[in-house]
Symmetry: C2
Subunit: 353 residues, 2 copies
């Protein structure tokens, strides 16, 4: 099987050791799932940087957002022999203390800039930290969509209240406007269409529920990007296939003459994440015209198969150059990689529905 | 302990046997959780009517929405010895067949009218059936809020896609406009404020997640009632109290000189549902001014303690007459009851926060 996507031979492009920790006592565990965009002649990535405290033998430490602390983050330590501490054995990503869930890592968003799309200068400090009680466990997996000269950032806001979708906008990447939560928990993987269709803006999103077959991609619409309605399911998981357990949107849909092309992720019951594509009607994005049968990308390289959470390729950042798309992606939830693809080739690979 | 609410001595006001089934082969199992409103000098209730097929010994039958079937509903039968059939032992409300969940009952909404608030004429046929794939398992627990002469109905839309909040409007209770899903799954208990505050409409809602302490009342706002944003948590569950496991809004908040009064339900770990009250700032409903310490109503009567789902009092329907509020409520998820309360007395019972 040959992926329809060409990986950069330089992969992985960005590793945790390339990133300066945001405060003393923290190490960067993962750099992953960047949003991608063009600005001022450069390619920008908005990286998700996941950090954890330096651990010692006696305790489990985590880091949470705390506006009162220097740098805005605070390290918490729990004694390992504390009977109130419960590890989540099936998942390396969290634990529970006195009924309250914690993540082992805390994510912020950080900019990196490149002239050639391959070599990036990473900012030495966080660009955006979680803010307020809805982001106390961090912000993750940001999509960047340029609409009429403004960049809209949709990201996962994580806290004890669950995870929902937050919105931030900027025009200069120095000043940011926070617009509050646009989709209540549990929801993630929100990708805005880059322009209105008819009278409304549109978005893909992923309500997240317990139970088989529930984690599907939905469509919503909005008059103003701030308030959303007309929620309806768009595509389902497919039993027995690579996207049998959950599906979620990638970056903003890409306009083509055939319709809106969306590269999405699908996972199976083994939590193996692949990428596929969807084609949506150009005038009515609730109509799915075509969909990948086989994945367009599978985790086959060593850096995609082994890492913080292995067997994962996950994209939420693309930059379009005519027929060619630069696609940035997280591999094994630990490193950032790049690939290129041809819109024509992806469209030709889809199965018409 | 004396409830702050006075029950009607005629309770229960409406029983399943008062309701004509919507089609042959169905029995009305429960009538519960009515929305309540005034229209043309009468008090109207929009009842939730839950029906199930007449069962036989060999099969489990359920009823689903099917636009192609006569009357819009279809009865499905599963053989009890079919190995693909899985009962949900901890819950009388559903089962699973080949990985797909089904409810044992299907709910529709039906009008009932009264001159005195006590004696109701129940329509012989359903007023609103579930419609489309998001309502295939029915529609439930409708709040009715009059805003500028239009009645807005917010209800729970149930399907294999989970449960979300649908919106329907009417001005005459004969013609209804469907506005699609306004809050994506899983969400329920959506109560609209009866007028704008500043530039926006407001609503209470209840994102529903697995896990302790997560089922809280949230606030959202909207420019047009159709699209919602600015989602934020309003009140939490309280450990060790009557509302320790989940809380959800009742009917539309009631305007008082002290602020917005909301009667809400709270349940503990034993699924015992009581009612309490909240007072929200008149100009900024994200500020909680006061809250019930003890419940204002507990399931203490026989008809509240024993039924389809026992130990439940649940309201989503109130009619205000000056200081007096007529409150309709579902008891034990099976019958409709009524009570009256004094706004002044409820306000006096709250604990200032």
């Amino acid at each position: 099987m040959i992926d329809t996507i060409q990986r950069y031979v330089q992969n992985p492009l960005l590793l945790p050791e390339h990133i300066r920790p945001s405060m003393d006592g923290l190490v960067v565990e993962c750099v992953l799932n960047p949003g991608a965009f063009r600005f001022a002649g450069k390619i920008g990535l908005l990286l998700r940087v996941a950090e954890r405290p330096v651990q010692d033998e006696a305790s489990v430490k985590t880091v949470v957002i705390d506006p009162a602390a220097p740098g805005g983050q605070r390290i918490l330590a729990f004694q390992k022999d504390d009977p109130d501490l419960v590890s989540l054995e099936e998942d390396s990503r969290g634990f529970v203390y006195r009924g309250q869930p914690y993540l082992t890592t805390l994510s912020h968003l950080r900019l990196a800039w490149s002239e050639d799309g391959l070599n990036f200068r990473i900012d030495p400090t966080p660009t955006l930290l979680g803010q307020g009680e809805l982001e106390a466990f961090g912000i993750e997996d940001c999509r960047v969509t340029e609409i009429d000269g403004t960049y809209y950032l949709t990201y996962t806001a994580v806290s004890v209240h669950g995870f929902g979708v937050g919105l931030i906008s900027t025009t200069d990447w120095e000043h940011f406007t926070r617009h509050s939560m646009i989709l209540p928990p549990n929801n993630k993987d929100c990708a805005l269409f880059p322009r209105k269709i008819g009278e409304h803006y549109f978005a893909l999103h992923r309500p997240t529920m317990e139970g088989v077959g529930r984690n599907q991609i939905w469509l919503a619409q909005s008059p103003d990007l701030l308030h959303w309605g007309q929620h309806r399911p768009l595509i389902k998981t497919r039993s027995g296939m690579w996207d049998s357990a959950r599906v979620g949107a990638g970056d903003a849909p890409i306009w083509t003459e055939a319709g809106w092309l969306e590269i999405y992720h699908g996972a199976d019951e083994n939590n193996r994440y692949c990428l596929g594509a969807l084609l949506l009607d150009p005038n009515d994005p609730s109509k799915v015209l075509a969909r990948s049968g086989r994945p367009i990308m599978e985790p086959i390289m060593e850096y995609e198969k082994v890492g913080f959470f292995g067997s994962v390729v996950f994209t939420n950042g693309t930059v379009v150059e005519g027929d060619r798309v630069l696609m940035y992606y997280g591999a094994s939830d630990q490193v950032v990689c790049g690939a290129t693809l041809s819109l024509r080739e992806i469209l030709a690979s889809l199965h018409t529905l």
